[in-house]
């Protein structure tokens, strides 16, 4: 047993982070918020980097890696707040022409919602009668659809990986702020009330990490449900605590913290919601 990232996995993680830092840094994020839209050039670049074809066999023009690597890539996407229907396009690689290379943008209904419907080239699943709504998350345009649909466990796990990225990022942002912002003559991070908020953020994120990575290895439905619950918790509570640590600044549109919280809320709607995962895990106890 060696439950640690391999050298190759570390390199992949660093590679995706570098690409996203360069192509979707602070300025690009700002611009995307001001003017929502899907950056097709970035999408193709992601395709060229293998983001969508990661799990396709090499014989089919893919990268030939597995779910653990996909989870690491999606964790980075979550961290960077990368917009777009990443999961649906990734899962369509190999079955929808052009999805693997990022030429074709694919979306799919999930949890009574469809994201990026107006931008997508292909919709997988039933999006008839979709009604647009004014999305709470400025980086995720949404439509409502009538039926809930079945949850795809892989989609649930990839969303959990994004949540993990968000949780980790929220902890970093909170710590950065707590070390630099001074009140009463010392960094606010020296106050124990603030310190303990940050410690709890890390504990939740690291517990979720163990669950998400393990689920990527086992692909067991109960492990995936567990990963989802812990990652949702780590992301939603983490971003809220991060906002609290930022004080008034955290409540502004300007500060990026709200974007992380809103995305975390949006993702937690996916795959039948929290209730379904809890029921899966309850059923597992008496199986």
């Amino acid at each position: 047993m060696r439950f640690q990232l391999t050298e190759d996995q570390r390199a992949l993680q660093a590679g995706v982070r570098e690409l996203l830092d360069r192509r979707f840094g602070a300025e690009a994020l700002r611009a995307a918020v001001d003017e929502p839209g899907l950056d097709r050039a970035l999408w193709r670049e992601l395709g060229a980097a293998g983001f969508f074809a990661l799990r396709l066999p090499e014989a089919d023009g893919g990268v030939g890696l597995g779910l653990p690597e996909a989870v690491l890539a999606f964790e980075e996407a979550g961290r960077a707040l990368l917009p777009g229907p990443l999961t649906a396009t990734h899962l369509a690689a190999g079955s929808v022409p052009g999805a693997a290379t990022g030429e074709t943008v694919v979306t799919a209904p999930d949890g009574g919602l469809v994201e990026w419907l107006a931008w997508a080239d292909v919709v997988l699943g039933d999006a008839d009668g979709a009604v647009p709504l004014r999305s709470l998350d400025p980086l995720t345009p949404l439509h409502r659809v009538a039926h809930q649909g079945e949850a795809d466990p892989l989609a649930v796990l990839l969303a959990a990986a994004e949540q993990l990225g968000t949780a980790t990022r929220a902890c970093e942002l909170a710590v950065q702020h707590a070390r630099t912002r001074e009140q009463f003559g010392q960094p606010v991070g020296a106050f124990q009330a603030v310190k303990h908020l940050c410690a709890d953020m890390l504990v939740r994120a690291e517990t979720a990490r163990a669950a998400v990575y393990a689920a990527a290895v086992t692909e067991d439905p109960a492990d995936i449900a567990a990963a989802r619950l812990l990652a949702d918790e780590a992301a939603v509570r983490g971003t809220r605590d991060c906002l609290q640590v930022h004080g008034g600044m955290g409540f502004t549109w300007e500060c990026e913290v709200h974007l992380h919280l809103k995305r975390a809320w949006a993702r937690s709607q996916r795959g039948g919601g929290i209730t379904e995962s809890e029921e899966v895990l309850a059923a597992d106890l008496v199986a």
Binding site: M1, V175, A199, R209, A214, E278, L285
Partner: protein, 376 residues
């Protein structure tokens, strides 16, 4: 990321499982929690059996993964806990192994492994709990011995211990952390008085230990004089690293039993209760994976790191939530001390206090992992 075990590890698991299958059915029933002499004999007897079968040193010499398998399998099979051997095997022993002289190692380690001697830990004092470095029990030299006066508190297993790993102040003038020394004190030395303390669970799990001019040979000092703080930190990192592996396995078993009981008594029909148990399933699955993660890290890097604090924080709260959920399953039975899980619920209350309170663990995580500044 690899969750599979090597053929050698699987072979170790299979051999251990076979052995447990043979010996456990022949074990006498566990003694009553209040019968300390019987508990001592029982716990030492089990350690002796482990020793004779070649498993005694699994806590020290085996790889972290082998140790994980050992703890997983013994727990699964319902083998006895380390019990009274806890301090010897997991605190004092590893400290002596790491810091002791060859003579000290050969004097103290074999009796621990053979199940012949019980150790206790005399660190906490009435005025020094979380702030351990505030300890005031004094020791001064007189010929070939230290003369020790002071008092310790919350000393687990003190009534049945042969030895105490004792922290004393040898230099009251030095900065707090630099005037402390680590001694191995025989519990039958003149001047040692043990007064048992009753816990909220009703039994006497720990004690006050009064020390009145107790003579401890200088040869019983492990590490240099006034270097006891550093020596102690070696022990504590062992404690927080892998001490709870078996318990996570046990908690997962209890959770399954809770679900079965809820199905039997009808509580399972309540979706709120069901989902509560489902969430705990997620929690303990994750804690098991976190354990594997930490063990893999320890295998790569030696001594368990600060990851132990992350685990301890999450686990101690999860354990309390588990037994609160048990109360939810039991309904009025939750007030009946003769029902299963009711005493465990009481015991679980100590988990956020012993071995560093949750608040102290949060300070450690925030300052040593996240690098936040100490307050003024």
């Amino acid at each position: 990321m690899d969750l599979t075990y090597t053929p050698e590890e699987e072979e170790f698991r299979a051999r251990l499982r076979r052995w447990l299958g043979e010996v456990l059915p022949k074990l006498p029933p566990a003694p009553a929690p209040s019968d300390w002499p019987a508990r001592r004999a029982y716990d030492l007897g089990w350690q002796r059996m482990l020793h004779d079968a070649g498993y005694a040193d699994v806590h020290w010499d085996a790889s972290p993964t082998t140790r994980l398998i050992y703890l997983e399998e013994t727990e699964r099979a319902g083998a006895p806990y380390v019990g009274a051997n806890f301090v010897g095997l997991l605190h004092a022993g590893p400290t002596i192994a790491a810091e002791g002289t060859p003579e000290q190692r050969s004097r103290w380690l074999p009796p621990i492994l053979r199940g012949e001697e019980v150790w206790c830990q005399g660190f906490s004092e009435p005025g020094a709990g979380s702030d351990l470095a505030a300890l005031r029990t004094r020791a001064w030299r007189d010929g070939d011995a230290y003369v020790v006066t002071g008092s310790k508190i919350w000393t687990s297993h003190a009534e049945v211990a042969d030895w105490c790993e004792l922290l004393v102040r040898t230099d009251p003038e030095a900065p707090r952390h630099r005037g402390i020394t680590w001694l191995a004190m025989p519990m039958d030395a003149p001047g040692v008085t043990v007064r048992p303390l009753r816990t909220l669970a009703g039994s006497t799990e720990f004690a006050e230990v009064f020390l009145d001019e107790v003579r401890v040979p200088i040869a019983n000092r492990v590490g240099a004089e006034n270097d006891g703080w550093r020596v102690t930190m070696v022990t504590l990192s062992f404690e927080r690293g892998t001490a709870f592996v078996g318990e996570v396995v046990a908690c997962r078993r209890v959770l399954g039993e809770l679900a079965a009981e809820a199905r039997k008594n009808g509580r399972w029909d309540d979706p709120v209760l069901r989902r509560r148990l489902g969430r705990l399933n997620a929690e303990f699955r994750a804690l098991w994976r976190l354990t594997q993660w930490n063990v893999s890290e320890a295998s790569a890097g030696g001594v368990p790191g600060v990851g132990g604090s992350v685990f301890k924080l999450r686990y101690s709260h999860a354990r309390q939530e588990l037994y609160d959920a048990a109360a939810d399953v039991l309904g009025p039975g939750a007030l009946d001390l003769d029902r299963p899980w009711v005493l465990d619920r009481l015991s679980s209350l100590s988990y956020t206090i012993a071995a560093g309170t949750s608040q102290i663990q949060r300070n450690i995580v925030a300052e040593r992992i996240l690098g936040l500044p100490k307050g003024k």
